[in-house]
C-alpha cells in the first residue's frame, strides 16, 4: 500500500531523528564491545607468538575501551555548527561501521 508521506512525495528527503533511541544506544555499546574483542583477540594472538603490531599498539594508546568511555562520547560527536557543539552519533554517515570514540579535548 502506498502511504503518502513527505519522504515519498518529494525527492531527496531523509529524516534522521534528533535523539538516538535506547535500543540504538544498546546496539552501539554492543558494537563498541565487539570492536574491543577483535582488537584484544589480535593483540593476544600476536603476544603469544612474540610479535607486535604498530596498528594495535596505536589503538591501545589512543582509543578508550567501551567501559572507559563516558556516555557523552558513546552517543554524541563533536559538531562545530551546533550550539552545544554536540550532535547525536547516529548523524555520522555509516555510523554503525566506523570507529568514532574520541572528540576534541574540551568539547
Amino acid at each position: 500500500m502506498f502511504k503518502p508521506s513527505s519522504p515519498l512525495f518529494s525527492g531527496l528527503l531523509w529524516k534522521i531523528p534528533w535523539r538516538i533511541s535506547s535500543p540504538q544506544k544498546a546496539r552501539q555499546r554492543k558494537r563498541l564491545r565487539s570492536v574491543d574483542r577483535v582488537v584484544d583477540a589480535v593483540s593476544a594472538a600476536l603476544m603469544r607468538s612474540g610479535q607486535g603490531s604498530k596498528a594495535v599498539d596505536r589503538w591501545y594508546r589512543e582509543m578508550p575501551r567501551e567501559e572507559e568511555m563516558v556516555s557523552k562520547d558513546k552517543y554524541t560527536i563533536f559538531d562545530k555548527k551546533e550550539k552545544t557543539y554536540r550532535k547525536g552519533i547516529h548523524k555520522l554517515p555509516k555510523w554503525t561501521r566506523v570507529s568514532q570514540r574520541v572528540n576534541p579535548p574540551g568539547f
Partner: protein
C-alpha cells in the same frame, strides 16, 4: 602454528574503497565468509583496517605431515636406548 580465523560479519557496501580492497586482499568476498591467515604483524594490520566488520578468533593448528609409509629397522640395543632416552 597459530592462525587467525576471520569472519566477515557485516557487509562492506558503501564503505571506502580502501576497506573493500583490504577485504579482497584477505579473501573475504561475502558476508559470513571465513578465512584463515597465519598470525603475523601484516595480517594484524589488515584486520585492524576492517575491525568494525569482522570477527576474529585465534586457532592453533598442528602442521599436517603425511605418514611416511616406512620405518627404519634398528638393532634391539639401539631401540632400547631410544626408549630410555639415552
Amino acid at each position: 602454528m597459530s592462525y587467525f580465523r576471520i569472519t566477515l560479519v557485516r557487509s562492506a557496501i558503501g564503505l571506502p574503497r580502501r576497506t573493500t580492497d583490504v577485504l579482497k586482499a584477505l579473501g573475504l568476498k561475502k558476508r559470513m565468509a571465513q578465512v584463515f591467515h597465519p598470525v603475523s604483524p601484516s595480517v594484524a594490520g589488515q584486520i585492524m583496517k576492517v575491525k568494525e566488520i569482522v570477527s576474529v578468533q585465534e586457532e592453533v593448528r598442528l602442521e599436517r605431515k603425511p605418514d611416511p609409509g616406512y620405518y627404519i629397522e634398528k638393532t634391539s640395543g639401539a631401540e632400547w636406548k631410544e626408549q630410555r632416552g639415552y
